[in-house]
Symmetry: C2
Subunit: 168 residues, 2 copies
């Protein structure tokens, strides 16, 4: 019997900051761009605490035939190499609860905050984030839920492949 995958779900954050509500829009744009490319509509943005956008990315499983380019990993890959100190001052914005790969990636890079659009359509590795002292903020955005739920309904096989699940 395997341990459950990341059971710890972050409740919607009450009174999120304007800073977070503004910056998550960079990630939402990436998700929408992914959908235009017929890809999995999940976007991410790494934003420094002074508001500078260090990089953006989106899930490109379909576009690049890649098994590892999720929103967050694509974002970090697009950015390229950076000294460790830069990540520590950044927040990762992502439209969806980050999977265990992306959660482990944030732990590795020493990112201290993760702001998610929602975790209703999928619950990822939030417990991995929290276990390693990363703050998780859940904006619980209807726009993000709509993007994902429509995609999952339309392309269930692509979605199952993306999260390592076998087709029903």
């Amino acid at each position: 019997m395997l341990a459950p995958k990341s059971p710890c779900k972050t409740a919607p954050t009450e009174n999120p900051s304007d800073f977070d509500l503004v910056n998550v829009r960079h990630a939402v744009f990436q998700a929408e761009q992914g959908l235009r490319e017929q890809g999995v509509p999940i976007g991410a943005a790494l934003v420094r605490k002074d508001g500078v956008v260090i990089g953006v990315g989106r899930n490109r499983r379909v576009q690049k035939n890649s098994a590892i380019l999720h929103g967050e990993t694509d974002c970090l890959n697009n950015i390229g190499r950076l000294p460790a100190s830069v990540y520590k001052d950044c927040t990762m914005y992502t439209t969806l609860s980050p999977c265990s790969m992306c959660s482990g990636t944030m732990v590795l890079f020493g990112i201290k905050r993760c702001v998610i659009g929602e975790n209703e359509t999928f619950l990822g590795g939030e417990s991995i984030l929290r276990d390693h002292g990363i703050e998780v903020v859940n904006l619980n955005l209807d726009s993000c839920k709509k993007l994902m739920s429509e995609f999952i309904e339309r392309y269930p096989e692509v979605w199952n492949e993306d999260i390592g699940e076998e087709d029903k």
Copy 2:
């Protein structure tokens, strides 16, 4: 105070199988190839339980200016897209204890076994693997320790960048 990064170190496995000792050599070759390219010498191979090598990869931080192409993620990226069922019958061989990004990646893909060359020069996310029911085998190979210790001594700044640590 952050939780410690993955404190759970796997003891050397007594009497490892011939299957594992043979298959880790695919990963060691990749690490050696990385060193020839002046990259971080960590290699990986995904091997099906019948011994078929599904793919190989190596850390390509230096070669590709990539922050996310570690041995295991490069291996999975090289393979491309696969149905979830394939990964479940595979072992990930890696020359070094997998970092939290690569550990989370194995959880996502549903890989059931991870065989590591060593965990003395670096201790990664073995506790993430174990917490999610993944078997960890530590071959404790001198050849792998030599590759890493020589590299770390020669290029400490590249190594610190790779594991998200600030330079001393």
